[in-house]
């Protein structure tokens, strides 16, 4: 059984321990970045996360993979893991727009002042970025942070079902 088949089998029956074990085995054996990327859109909740984790093992400097893993972890409430992936991404591309945007997005929990400061800092490098401006202005309007839409980063795994 190849990784794709194992991923689909696990996705269709996530409570099946055998399917889970087989998928994790195949994932651990997989050494192909392309093969890993091919399963990212199968299942957001069950497949994409572990696959992104493996992807960052194999390609530790792949910025897209690191940011994807950060956003996936954050989405599922794994904030500490998200910060770890973000730190790796910042080590690779500290001034990349995507990195700064994801940092702002996953800093929501740290409060409006902190997020506002991040926006101001990022805007110095990217003064024309709409998302940064909008986010900063929305905080300035009320002084509070009760909603944040994610940056327009369209990553491969975000096509997952």
């Amino acid at each position: 059984m190849d990784l794709l088949t194992a991923a689909k089998a696990f996705s269709s029956n996530p409570s099946n321990v055998e399917a889970l074990t087989t998928f994790m085995e195949k994932l651990g054996e997989c050494m192909s970045i392309n093969e890993l990327k091919s399963i990212l859109d199968i299942d957001l909740e069950n497949v994409a996360g572990p696959a992104l984790g493996r992807l960052t093992d194999l390609a530790p400097t792949d910025l897209e993979a690191l940011l994807s893993a950060a956003i996936w972890s954050y989405h599922y409430g794994l904030d500490a893991e998200a910060q770890t992936y973000l730190a790796k991404a910042k080590a690779v591309g500290p001034l990349e727009l995507n990195v700064l945007q994801v940092e702002i997005y996953i800093s929501y929990s740290f409060g409006p002042e902190y997020v506002h400061a991040l926006c101001e800092s990022a805007l110095k490098s990217f003064p024309n970025d709409d998302w940064l401006s909008t986010t900063k202005q929305s905080i300035e309007k009320t002084g509070e942070l009760t909603e944040m839409r994610g940056p327009p980063i369209h990553l491969a795994w975000q096509k997952a079902k």
């Binding site: 957001l44 909740e45 989405h75 599922y76 409430g77 800093s107 400061a117 909603e147």
Partner: protein, 267 residues
């Protein structure tokens, strides 16, 4: 100080030392001590209502027009802990208690108490601790119905944040899974793990309601919002998927996850 001249002597000396330091255990005595403890435990005053609750489900026809199922919980109340429901059934009715008021209550069941006066249409649980009686209402709140201080809302003590989520349950909630905007909302398997089971339905309904007010969440769009539910803040994170649904990955009380540190040098 031990004076030794060889490895064998050292080993022997250490053995002697260890025997001195750790005398042989009297397993018989230990066993009997355990038994004594167990006996004491059994005879000691208990805050547990019942140790061996049986799990059984029963369904009764609903008499109200609502599409929401009402659940009856029978469980153990432990001081300082939440209620652990071990039984669920579909039931509509006022109050369940001894005296044959409820078919769900077996004769002599120590958690089944007499009916009490609660001005609510649905009570999900009644139980008592040391002269007090508690009820879990259909909105997730915990009410002390009888006790030294009379009737009072005990939910904050038991559930903290979760208690105040009660109010929206009485609102017109969207049908299961679907926000009123038409977009299907799926809550992740562990998405509600930060809330007690008894209020998860209410929280997810409030999230669906909030998502409905936002309009369509486009595929790939990620969003996080802090909403006020029953006077308390709840934050959730959602993501639009290509199949048109919104995946809610997590929700938690408050506006911040408290188990992570502010990154150093940020900003």
């Amino acid at each position: 100080m031990l004076a030794v001249t060889s490895c064998e002597e050292m080993g022997s000396a250490l053995f002697e030392r260890s025997r001195f330091a750790y005398p042989e255990l009297d397993y018989t005595a230990e066993n009997s001590h355990q038994e004594n403890c167990f006996t004491e435990e059994k005879t000691a005053p208990r805050i547990f209502l019942r140790e061996d609750l049986e799990t059984h489900q029963e369904s009764l026809p609903q008499t109200s027009g609502t599409h929401q199922e009402n659940t009856v919980f029978f469980g153990t109340i432990v001081l300082g802990c939440a209620v652990a429901p071990n039984n669920a059934g579909s039931v509509t009715g006022p109050v369940y208690g001894r005296n044959g008021a409820s078919p769900l209550v077996e004769n002599g069941d120590p958690i089944a108490l007499e009916p009490f006066n609660v001005s609510a249409s649905h009570v999900h649980y009644i139980g008592g601790i040391e002269g007090s009686e508690y009820a879990i209402m259909d909105d997730g709140s915990l009410l002390q119905t009888r006790g030294p201080q009379g009737m009072q809302d005990m939910t904050p003590m038991w559930f903290g944040i979760a208690s105040t989520i009660a109010a929206p349950a009485r609102l017109a909630l969207p049908a299961a899974g679907r926000a009123t905007g038409g977009q299907l909302v799926k809550i992740a398997a562990h998405g509600m793990r930060h809330f007690p089971e008894v209020v998860r339905e209410t929280v997810s309904a409030a999230i669906k309601q909030d998502l409905a007010t936002l309009g369509t969440v486009a595929p790939g769009q990620i969003i996080q919002r802090t909403i006020t539910v029953g006077g308390e803040q709840i934050t959730y994170r959602g993501m639009g998927l290509v199949d048109g649904t919104v995946n809610v990955g997590t929700a938690f009380p408050g506006a911040a996850v408290r188990n992570i540190a502010l990154p150093k040098g940020g900003g």
